[in-house]
């Protein structure tokens, strides 16, 4: 402990004396981008409750609720250089029911030409508390019932509705994916190629449209039939499979200047 204290203090002494004089020759500039998340089936924005869809297991379903957490957004240049959006401002709740929640505005991004975007679905608990601010997302998550109150964890992905097989009576389904303590981490990240160069510059706010193909929740890397399991909550077998599927549903569609 003594050692840690001394090292810390020494470190503080050193960094606290860093001079402010060596200003860079060119002032860096910053710009903004708006990311629109569009939850689609057959390239059309999904309709809650009123429309029914069919999965590969021949189950017809309606969607009552769709919410997910998008986090840790990183923009990547062609040369691999990354701009990491500040962690504590980088948690967003996408709620199909709330139009404004599906449009995420990022500001103060270093100007430049970006060709890829990386983000996570959920909350990366492995970084806690090394990158602070994660807890400041609690109120938003709570208001949207995206917290498992008894397990102190966030629900990363929530998908609920009803389904029928062979025109039978409708049964509810419920899919809640999150991490299971330290036993199972369902946080995952995805990198998408952008359809064209995203130019971040002062005074401009381009719009990046990302489609999330909701059919992939059931039919992608893994095929999930609701008849096999219609309630997934802290489910060590099916939750990771759904989490894998969810990561395949995103596509960067267009950039509008």
């Amino acid at each position: 402990m003594k050692k840690i204290t001394i090292i810390t203090l020494t470190f503080l002494m050193v960094i606290s004396c860093k001079s402010d004089d060596d200003d860079q020759t060119t002032e860096p500039t910053f710009g903004s981008v708006k990311i629109d998340f569009n939850n689609v089936i057959d390239n059309k924005t999904i309709a809650l409750n009123n429309l029914s869809y069919t999965n590969d297991s021949n189950e017809t379903y309606t969607i009552a609720e769709l919410k997910y957490i998008v986090s840790n957004i990183v923009l990547i240049k062609a040369n691999g250089e990354e701009f990491k959006y500040p962690t504590e401002q980088s948690y967003f709740l996408i709620n199909e029911e709330v139009e404004t929640s599906k449009s995420v505005s990022l500001s103060e991004i270093a100007s430049g030409e970006y060709s890829k975007i990386k983000f996570g679905v959920g909350v990366d608990q492995s970084k806690y508390p090394f990158e602070s601010g994660m807890a400041n997302f609690i109120p938003t998550a709570e208001e949207n019932a995206m917290v498992w109150n008894w397990s102190a964890g966030y629900i990363f992905f929530k998908f609920e509705g009803g389904y029928t097989t062979n025109a039978g009576p409708s049964t509810d389904f419920l899919i809640h994916v999150g991490s299971h303590g330290t036993a199972l981490d369902n946080y995952k990240e995805i990198t998408l190629d952008l359809p064209s160069t995203l130019t971040i510059a002062e005074g401009a706010e381009p719009i990046l449209l990302i489609n999330a193909d909701i059919t992939k929740v059931f039919d992608s890397t893994n095929t999930h039939s609701l008849a096999v399991k219609n309630s997934i909550q802290v489910d060590p077998e099916f939750a990771p499979k759904i989490a894998e599927n969810v990561m395949t549903m995103f596509n960067a569609i267009s950039i509008t200047k």
Partner: protein
């Protein structure tokens, strides 16, 4: 060490003295010294990321004892975690919440939290900073939201001031609320028992019974209640019959794994004399009951810890009545009066 710390603080303070710093307004918020007892392991909590300070600790303590953290304005953390009983809910089988609601588990003691890796009976909280979310938001406990708490705290000038003094960003937010409570909890070190004084060679000696009990304890209990923290921090099924009222599946609730059914965290045994009733649901009233359970009260099940299965087919830890009394005599050397009476942690 203290002298050394002062020297560094002085160096630190003067190292940057230049005209540029004239705008710097010093905030009087002294760092608290977090000292690891000589017989303790290194803490699991990364102190450097949330170093306890005078103001942060004061704020954490105020929050801990403030009913504003609950929906009814009454049930504080300290309501179920009473210092006199090593911060447990004395004699209450399960925790009591707002509106007379009853929880399903026995409130665990709070001490040496900085040394624990996971929290609650099932390890649902993977970091100390996250633990308070569970009781605060549970309907049968404090039934409150962080949005609600933040709003209530913002209305109180003393909180606005304390948050500003305690944290660099001066904000009342979830992160700072949880960090302040952690600062209070990590300072709650209980390491001044008779056992500790013997382990650290500070002049105390066991009585004959205690010494005999310690030998029995090492042979029969210490494989799970390991080391100076008296827990290996694992989850195990110790053969309690399933209580049909709660049917608490334990660790399974967090992991969803069938092999984790009915497993609960091995608790520390420090201050065990005072933390009755015992077990995750408080079903056993006395230490005699506990040792009777381990002696011959176990029920077999698929996840019963193999350590309790004897070669002759019996279950439990073979102990004579006199063994049990000697072990209890030893367990009483784990009571830390200094901690129980430490004013720093007291509500008033």
């Amino acid at each position: 060490m203290k002298l050394l710390s002062y020297i560094f603080i002085i160096l630190f303070g003067t190292a940057c003295s230049s005209e540029k710093d004239s705008e710097y307004i010093p905030i009087e918020n002294t760092k608290l010294e977090f000292t690891v007892p000589a017989n303790f392991p290194e803490p699991s909590y990364n102190i450097t990321l949330n170093p306890p300070t005078e103001k942060g600790f004061e704020l954490g303590k105020k929050l801990f004892y403030d009913g504003r953290l609950a929906s009814d304005g009454v049930i504080s953390c300290g309501f179920c975690h009473i210092q006199d009983f090593a911060f447990t809910h004395h004699t209450h089988i399960v925790s009591h919440g707002v509106g007379g609601a009853l929880g399903t588990r026995n409130a665990q003691p709070l001490h040496n939290m900085a040394f624990m890796k996971e929290f609650t009976w099932d390890g649902a909280a993977i970091h100390l900073d996250l633990q308070p979310i569970i009781p605060i938001t549970a309907e049968v406990e404090m039934n409150e939201t962080f949005t609600g708490i933040i709003k209530k705290l913002e209305e109180k000038p003393e909180y606005v001031k304390l948050f500003a003094e305690a944290f660099d960003d001066q904000k009342i937010n979830s992160d700072n609320i949880l960090k302040a409570i952690s600062q209070f909890m990590i300072m709650m070190i209980s390491a001044n028992t008779k056992y500790d004084k013997i382990e650290r060679n500070e002049g105390s000696v066991f009585t004959e019974n205690e010494a005999a009990g310690f030998e029995l304890f090492k042979a029969k209990c210490a494989s799970c209640h390991k080391g100076t923290l008296f827990t290996d921090q694992s989850y195990r099924n110790n053969g309690l019959a399933i209580d049909p009222q709660y049917n608490d599946v334990g660790r399974n609730r967090v992991t969803g794994l069938s092999e984790d059914s009915y497993k609960f965290k091995v608790p520390s045994l420090r201050n065990i004399e005072l933390t009755f009733p015992y077990m995750h649901d408080g079903r056993l009233k006395t230490l005699d009951d506990v040792l009777d359970h381990y002696g011959n009260g176990m029920v077999d099940s698929e996840t019963l810890d193999p350590i309790f299965k004897n070669q002759n087919g019996t279950l439990g830890i073979p102990m004579t009545e006199s063994d049990k009394q000697l072990i209890i005599a030893f367990l009483k050397t784990l009571t830390d009066d200094d901690f129980l009476n430490d004013n720093r942690f007291s509500e008033f």
